[in-house]
Amino acid sequence: MTDVSVSSRSTSEAPLTERQWIRRGELLEAARGVFERDGYHGTTVSAIVQAAGLSQGAFYLYFADKKAVFAALQDEMATLLRRRIYWATRDEADARRRLEAGLDAYFAYYEEYAAWNRRLTIEGLAIDASFERRQTDLAQTLAAAFRPTLEQLGVGETALAAFALLGIAAQIAYWQHFQRKDEASMSAAALAQACASLFLNGAPSIPAHSPQEGGSHA
């Protein structure tokens, strides 16, 4: 398996003009919508350019193929998540509240980009090894961000615990958006509190959720 380039443009090419930057952005935005709607395997370059209102020729000025667009989106979305968690937790002195703030940022991000996260999880990671590697890099970064907090909370095996926490959070987010039936949804903050309680104190510690606490999301 080979890695994919984020863009077909080489670094030695002339800088993008504003118009080109806008077109690249239009392609990325349109591609995300098509990937979310049709899935990776169901998406074609034709569908992306049609959604963007551009020509096939324009597409290949910026990306080698649909795999390159998906990779660029994966990088872009990972950056958003890392930034959100970093800034949400950076100034919180209390370890428990810092853990909940990080989880709140995670669930808020997942809520905003639920369809993308679903496609990335179900299809994206199987495209080739480079996609799994990028997602592993993201998980390593997030785990590293949570480990000092877990250590402060008395956790011994912080690496194992951090990955377990990420796994629990990912499953809760997927359940919230795609698996729960006939139940009121919960806000990102309520999910974060429940996830932290489950992780630190066990399932019996999760407070009962009343419908009034539900969030406004899907």
Binding site: T17, E18, T79, R82, R83
Partner: protein, 104 residues
């Protein structure tokens, strides 16, 4: 929400902590926010943060302070912000994209 200074200091620190990403880069970025300007000079990969405008920036990024803070803290996708004209870029677009790469 952090202060603008914290965000720019973080950007400077991030570039310093990943020198391999900015090797050989020479660029002056100016950030025009609501009523304040910041300058990030990168000389041979070494960043220097200055409060105030630059004399001759290569790239100027223009946004309200709120929109810029949302971009910097991951709450607003920079591509979306650019498409919605919440973020405007004057000058060398390639350097603007390079900056995005430095901060990933």
């Amino acid at each position: 929400m952090p202060e603008a200074k914290e965000v720019f200091t973080e950007i400077e620190n991030r570039i310093k902590s990943h020198p391999e990403k900015s090797v050989g880069l020479n660029a002056t970025y100016q950030f025009d926010l609501s009523g304040e300007s910041w300058t990030l000079k990168i000389a041979n990969g070494a960043p220097e943060l200055i409060q105030g405008p630059a004399q001759s920036p290569n790239t100027t990024l223009i946004a309200t302070t709120d929109d810029w803070m949302n971009i910097a803290t991951g709450k607003l996708n920079p591509v979306t912000a650019f498409m919605q004209q919440k973020l405007k870029v004057k000058g060398d677009m390639g350097l603007a994209m390079k900056l995005q790469g430095l901060l990933q």
